[in-house]
Each structure stands twice: as C-alpha cells, then as structure tokens.
C-alpha cells in the first residue's frame, strides 16, 4: 500500500501587458480562467506504442515547457474547450484567407478598406461573436462592421483599447498612409480573431503597401 497523491500543482503567474495596464489603472480584477495547450503536438499521441496504452501520451507528457511570456497576443493561442462527450468535430473559425494585402492612402487616394467576416464551422460564435486583436495599429484602423447580438459591453469594456481590440461578428480594416521609409518594403502586422464561444483562434497576416496590388488583393 502506498500513499495517495494529494499534491496540488502550484505555478507562478506573470502579468501580461494588458494586466500591467489594468493594474496601473487600479482596475485589476481577475474573475475567470481559461486553459490552453500551447506547445502541444497531438501528432505525438502514439496508439501503437510498444509499451501499451499507458504510454500513448508519454511523448507529450514528458515535454518540458517554455516559460510564460507576457504578451497577451502571443499566449493562450489554443484554448481547451468544454464540449459534450462524444463530440466528433471541433468548431473551426475561418475567414477564407490567411493573408490580406492592402494599399494605404497616398496622394489623395484613400486607403483601402477590407471587411473581415469570420465564420465558424460546426456552429457557435453566432451570439457572442469574435474578438479581433491587432498586433500593431501603426498603419491600420480596426472597426466593427456588424455587432455581435449577444455581446453587451460591460462598464469597462474590451473596447477601452479602441484601436487594438474589437468585438463583433465582422470587422473593417482600413489602411493608412505609409511613411516614405516603408514605400518599398511595405508593412506587416497580424490580426488574431478569437471565437468568443468556441475559444478557437486564427491568425491572419495583414500587409499594407503604398501601391495597389492588383494581383493579390483580398
């Protein structure tokens, strides 16, 4: 007979950039948690392991993990979700494209506007919509095109950061003018779209150029 394992896993948390901002505002209030499996490759789950079923997940379970990073846009990418037992298909968020090329305003010509309308295969996200998060807003603006019907902005809303975060069913991106130093190379950032009901996320690359890219515009 051996002792039962009564240990509790204890981990140290770090504040994210958003957490520091809210803390500095005196508005730091943790109310809920979510879980993620960033770094896990489920392809390592090996049902043919010669040692049997206890070892199917051994390659995953023995993986040493990296430290937490404070950038809230680059962590908690792949959330764990609660679905009924027997579920065979996971809700999948899609926008149809992974890269958007846009032209900025130049010499009187307005910057290009693009609508991003995510959808979710296998349901959900129709009520609470999606959260769109720009990594950088230097040469882009982000706006809600269609509101999510079930999303009620709280007193302190995610929209407090009106440039980087938006919650809705679809969104509008508008390119701004690029400085001359970027006329040749263009400028890139990423747009992460989270499903507010499913937890999934997709990452899109947004490129802004000085000139019209007729061949690969979104």
């Amino acid at each position: 007979m051996s002792y039962l394992d009564n240990t509790t896993i204890t981990v140290d948390a770090v504040l994210t950039k958003m957490g520091r901002q809210r803390f500095s505002e005196g508005n730091f209030n943790v109310t809920k948690f979510a879980l993620a499996d960033d770094e896990i490759d489920y392809g390592l789950y090996n049902v043919t392991h010669p040692s049997g079923s206890d070892y199917y997940a051994i390659a995953i379970e023995n993986l040493p993990l990296l430290e937490a990073i404070p950038d809230d846009s680059k962590t908690m990418k792949f959330k764990l979700i609660t679905l009924p037992k027997g579920t065979a298909q996971i809700p999948v968020i899609s926008t149809g494209v992974s890269t958007i090329n846009m032209y900025g305003s130049y010499n009187g010509r307005p910057g290009q506007t693009v609508v991003v309308a995510p959808s979710t295969v296998n349901g959900l996200n129709n009520t609470l919509g999606y959260t769109a998060q720009l990594d950088s807003y230097a040469y882009l603006t982000l706006a809600v095109k269609e509101a999510a019907p079930g999303y009620v902005p709280p007193a302190r809303s995610i929209d407090d950061d009106p440039i980087r975060y938006k919650v809705g069913k679809s969104f509008t991106l508008t390119a701004k003018a690029l400085p001359q130093s970027l006329w040749t190379t263009g400028w890139s950032t990423s747009l992460v779209i989270h499903g507010n009901e499913t937890g999934g996320a997709i990452v899109m690359t947004i490129n802004v150029y000085k000139d019209v890219k007729t061949s690969n515009e979104f």
Binding site: A13, M18, A36, A68, L80, I90, S157
Partner: protein
C-alpha cells in the same frame, strides 16, 4: 459568456496570502559581497565638479559599463571639510539634507547614544544605496562593512545591532539601528557606537570621529580644500572602503501574493482548439481514439477579467493530462 471556454472563479477560489518576506543579495548582478570599488573621479588630484563637492558614486568595476552601487557623501553640521570660499557650503548642505530627510525634528540632531550622556553626530559619512539595488529596504542585521584606514592599523568591521530587536527610533518617521562593530554571524563585539543605519531608506550614517583614529584615517575638518593634499574627506573614506574589499548586504522586500485555485472538473476542457487536434477542413478530431475518450494536455492557465482581457498567465512545468475521467487542481500564485 458561455462556459465553453471560461470558468468563473468562485468566492473560495481566490485567496490573498499573507505577504512573504523575500531577501536577496543587494548588489548589482546578484552579488552579495562587494570586494572591488571604483569611482569615476580622479581624487584627490582631479578638479572638483559641481557634484563632486557633495558626493561620489561608487561602482563595483568600470563606471563606464557598470551601474552605481551606492553614493558616498560627507556632511558636517557647521560646513567643515569644504573650502570656506565655496558659498554653497556643500558639507553643511549635506548635513542638513540628511537631517531634514531622516529626523522628525529637522532642527534636531542625530543622536548616537543616550546611555550615559547624549552623544550627537556633528559630522558623518552617508552611504546611500542605489534604490534599484535596495528594492524595498536594506535587510537589517545582514550587512557588514569593513573599513581600512591603514594596513598597519588593521580594519574595522561594522554591522548593526538590530539583533537585539530594539528600534532606537521607534515611532519616528525613520526606523534606525546603531552601527556597531562585529560580524553578521558572530554578532556585536564591544559597546562602541559608530553611527546609525536607516534600513527603510537604505542609508548608513557613519560618524568618523568615532573610528578615524582607530583605523588611522586622516580627516579634513578645516575649512580649506587643497587639491592633491589628501584633504578631501570623500576620497579618504572611499579609500578606506575600497582598501577593505568587503561590503556585504542583502535587500529585503515584502511580496504580496494572491492564490487562484483553478479547479478543472471531469466534464470540462476535454477538447482542444489546437490545430493538431482536429482537421482544419471540417473540424473532425484527428485522433480516432479521442472520439470516445478525448484527452487534452493543459500547459497554460490564463487569468481573465470580465471582459475577457488576459491579465496574467501561468505555465506548468510539464503538460497535465485531462480527460473525462480526470480532474485537476492547480494553484496559481500571482505576486504583486
């Protein structure tokens, strides 16, 4: 918000822990004992700049690349140790500055001893530890400074007497202890008092009149300062510290923590949005064994506010397996 992704903490899931006392090596780069000391000044022969009349910064090594460890200043109640032609009265100004800063009565005096008769400090060397090193305070009872005025005479080993648990300045603005001779491990030796330490300010005041003769330190208590004549008190004290090659100290801070108990029940979080978990085309779970018995491997805990902003994140050291027959309890500690 639907509970597909988030779980709201219950009232019993958040616990504010008693603040814990954390001590660390005081000096830059985690060094606990300074054995080398440099300054950018060319004492005693170099010309004094404006700031040189008041204080010098002391470094562990090259001032061009290292950060300041502490500053050294000399104060005198009547302005001695500075040139009388200097109408800024730098040493008198220093004395008044520390008096104003540390004493409740700005017109009072630094009292070294009251056991027999009141002994006050009319002059002092002030060691002010750089705040970045200090964190919240100097750890009283765990610093030691050696002074060497002359190799033949030997050195004086200074500590504080906080071990007796008595705050000589209780109730005043600044907590203080006496500076005495001894060692950190062996405690106080003798009864002589050499100055005052204010741990909450990271300031040590040393009265040179109490030790200059014992370590053969030559002080300038006149009203002239002659370049090259070894009459600069800051240089004299700097050489006494650097010759000793020993200044040990620890910082102290109180860390407040909140513990969040993340309780993951058997029915929760058994599916993943990880792209290796399902087919991107239609969302079908890739691993057939997961159809009836899904397993996930949680690596990261995110703490959110009510608007889904990720405020803090914690990583596990290894993945934790989750399934319909497994539960997990994770305690997330967040320090402030």
């Amino acid at each position: 918000m639907a509970d597909t992704v988030f779980t709201i903490f219950g009232a019993d899931d958040q616990v504010v822990a008693t603040p814990s006392r954390i001590t660390n090596a005081l000096w830059s780069n985690g060094v606990g004992i300074l054995t080398t000391f440099t300054t950018s000044l060319a004492f005693p022969t170099g010309a004094l700049t404006d700031n040189d009349r008041y204080y010098v910064d002391v470094y562990a090594s090259d001032p061009a690349t290292e950060q300041v460890e502490f500053s050294l200043a000399y104060g005198h109640v009547s302005g001695a140790g500075a040139d009388s032609s200097d109408l800024d009265y730098p040493t008198k100004a220093i004395y008044g500055q520390y008096k104003n800063f540390l004493l409740d009565n700005a017109n009072g005096q630094f009292i070294l001893d009251t056991t027999a008769a009141t002994v006050s400090m009319s002059q002092f060397f002030a060691i002010s530890i750089k705040r970045a090193n200090l964190k919240q305070k100097l750890d009283p009872g765990n610093w030691a400074l050696h002074l060497s005025g002359s190799i033949q005479i030997g050195s004086l080993h200074l500590i504080d007497n906080s071990a007796d648990g008595y705050d000589y300045n209780a109730g005043a603005t600044a907590r203080s202890y006496k500076v005495v001779s001894g060692s950190i491990t062996g405690g106080q030796v003798g009864t002589a008092i050499y100055g005052l330490v204010y741990p909450d300010y990271g300031i040590i005041l040393l009265d040179p009149s109490t030790f200059s003769s014992s370590i053969s330190m030559s002080l300038n208590t006149g009203t002239t300062w002659v370049a090259g004549a070894n009459k600069n008190n800051l240089w004299t004290m700097f050489t006494a510290i650097s010759a000793s090659e020993y200044f040990a100290a620890r910082s102290e801070e109180r860390i407040s923590s909140t513990h969040y108990f993340v309780r993951v029940k058997n029915q929760q979080y058994n599916y993943s949005t990880n792209p290796t978990f399902y087919s991107a085309s239609d969302g079908t779970i890739i691993q057939p064994a997961f159809y009836d018995d899904p397993q996930t491997f949680l690596t990261t805990v995110g703490l959110y506010n009510d608007t889904n902003e990720l405020l803090a994140v914690a990583k596990l050291s290894q993945p934790v397996t989750k399934g319909f027959d497994k539960e997990a309890l994770i305690k997330v500690r967040l320090d402030f």
